[in-house]
Amino acid sequence: MSLWPIVWERPIALALLPLWLALWWFLRQEQRRPEVWSGAIEFWRAVSPESTRDVAREGRLTPRWIVWALAGLGLGTIALAGPRGAAPGPARVLHLHLQPGGALWIDRDDPAGRWQRARQAIARQAAALEPEPSVWLWHDGASAPLETEPDGSPPQAFLERLARSAAPFAPPDRADALWVQAAAPDPKPLAAGWVATGGDERAGPVGWDRGGWVHLEGGQLVPESGGAARPRWEPTSERSWIGDFARLWAADRGLATEGDGPLVLSVRSLPAPALASDGEVVGRDGWSAAVTPREASPSVAPLDGKSEVEVWLAASRGPLLARAPGQVAWAHVEWSEPRGDPAQVALSFADFFDGALAAPPEMASPEARADQGEAGESAPRWDLAAYPDPSRWQRGALTALAALVAALALLRAATLAPR
């Protein structure tokens, strides 16, 4: 392993070293006691052995306990600064971590909107990197990263999915990463770069509360006063107790079946799983029902959505209830009346339908619409990115070793320090 050049992951920690030097100087001053010349030194030695200590052997050197203490602090500081001494390799991949949710995407049609400003800041930061990255990898925090050429842009679907995503934004603090977000990160990353679009509040709908839309205006949540089209849902014409329950739930939520409102839920079908002739008992959340094969073919369209489908209830050989954003579906089988506490049944299915509601394109969370503060950006520690990132195990081992050395040194200092 090459020892030079050494680069530091957290060079700010090295600012502690002058502090330890100052501490050493201070302790030296403390040790520098008044000196008195005397021909009667033997009397001092004779009268009170416990009050005298022969330090002739120590001379005027710094006491060993101070040396040990400062060595421990110094080593700990260096370990904290994270030295990297490996031979550099080419660093050409820039990882762009986009903030999930609608904060970046809220004003996508505005040429001076957040997303456009983010693109410009990304281009500025990438152009300033040396060597220039040859590949951009876009991360949405949920699915596999998307690779583009430098100055490329992810497709519309990627961005729309990102806007709908509720995944937490927890990008890695790596030297080859650039965080892309609306508000400036707090705390700031040590190695990663970041761009923050900033931006004023974008007023608009943030939710539907039974009778109408709720808007964010001037930092306040304001119910819309009439006139707006209610969100719609598409029920199934097939009669079943689940379908009846869906209609009750939709009425409670204030969803319409007709009109110009955005479509937020559709009922679809699932292919019937293989069931024994005498059926199978399924259930969850404290209720159960018997399912048996059904002869007729389903009259509703099958569930669409692929990767975003969530199986909510399954028989032994296939799903019975599933949902995807904007869709719910149940298998085309005979369902017996549910057994169990009716309240539990109601709560369970309300959760099933609520979780499938698709947010209308114009709806965004209050956090996404809120004022994002000032714009800002900071370059990543691209010089560090040229070095292999230690594995989690290596980093942990190095940290533990440094802490152990520092602790041993401080322990030694404590045993040597005068009482």
């Binding site: 000196e35 008195v36 021909g39 009667a40 033997e42 009268v47 009170s48 009050s51």
Partner: protein
């Protein structure tokens, strides 16, 4: 008291000069002359009241006085005792031909003090030499620790040579007063003055110099910090000669212990000196030579 024989490393070579050089101020010449004149006058006036320095050819009969403890029995007037049943001693007047010896310690520890102990001892040596010459004695000055022969002074004109020898001198070297060493002819002197801090010296050996026909005056000079150290908390005590360095928590208790130990050692000197009939005079280096010697010479 017996001091612990602690081997240690000095923090500075003992051979190196230590402390300020001896400097004689412009007024000292007049003060020495004044001291010598007054003291000689006093001695002359009371001659017969003091102890004879030498019995024999150097002494001339001057009168009688009542016997006092410590008087040389050979001076008792036995005839008068037989006649009057009273003990009188014959007193004499000093004559030229008497020799005074002055032993000056110049080891490194003498560089301590403000002014230094060496400065105080050198001023006292000059004063004693002036007095001896004023009384008609010849004076030999030996500086312990140096290789040069003792300086013999026969008249007041020689005082300049002594001043030249002392001025500019700095303390240095290991303790030289461990035991008396025969240097020059002062060993046969009628009166011997020893000037120094006496650290490392053997009281029995030095007081043994007192003998019939010879007075011995031990003028012990210590630094103020040696006599009465301040309780200043943790402090490094350094010995310029041999004992290296110790760190001392000089609180009130430790200072008291130190003063007790030092006091016991000083008391040993006083007791041994008294037993041998020698004078022991103690003072710190800040005393003037007049204060110091008035007790030593004009007793």
């Amino acid at each position: 008291m017996e001091l612990p024989n602690t081997p240690s490393r000095s923090t500075r070579p003992a051979e190196e000069p230590f402390g300020p050089p001896v400097r004689f101020g412009a007024d000292l010449g007049a003060r020495w002359a004044r001291f010598a004149a007054r003291s000689a006058s006093t001695i002359h006036r009371r001659e017969g009241g003091g102890r004879a320095l030498r019995v024999g050819a150097d002494a001339a009969f001057d009168g009688l006085r009542p016997y006092r403890a410590g008087d040389d029995p050979r001076t008792i007037d036995w005839g008068l005792l037989a006649r009057s049943h009273r003990v009188y001693v014959r007193t004499s007047r000093r004559e030229a031909g008497e020799t005074w010896g002055i032993v000056l310690d110049a080891s490194a520890s003498m560089g301590i003090g403000r002014p230094s102990k060496l400065q105080a001892a050198a001023e006292a040596a000059m004063a004693l030499a002036s007095l001896g010459l004023a009384l008609g004695a010849s004076v030999e000055v030996a500086i312990e620790g140096e290789r040069e022969a003792a300086l013999r002074l026969g008249s007041a004109r020689d005082l300049g040579a002594l001043a030249a020898r002392l001025e500019g001198r700095r303390a240095g070297g290991l303790p030289s007063l461990g035991t008396p060493v025969r240097r020059g002819s002062w060993h046969g002197a009628a009166r011997v003055f020893v000037l120094g801090d006496l650290f490392g010296a053997d009281p029995g050996a030095w007081c043994g110099l007192r003998r019939m026909g010879r007075e011995l005056v031990l003028v012990q000079i210590l630094g103020a910090e040696e006599l009465a150290p301040a309780a200043r908390g943790p402090v490094h005590v350094l010995d310029p000669e041999r004992a290296g360095r110790v760190t001392v928590v000089a609180d009130a208790g430790a200072v008291l212990d130190y003063e007790r130990a030092l006091g016991a050692w000083l008391e040993t000197w006083r007791r041994v000196a008294a037993r041998r009939g020698a004078q022991h005079v103690l003072g710190d280096s800040a005393q003037t030579f007049e204060e110091r010697l008035s007790r030593a010479v004009l007793r």
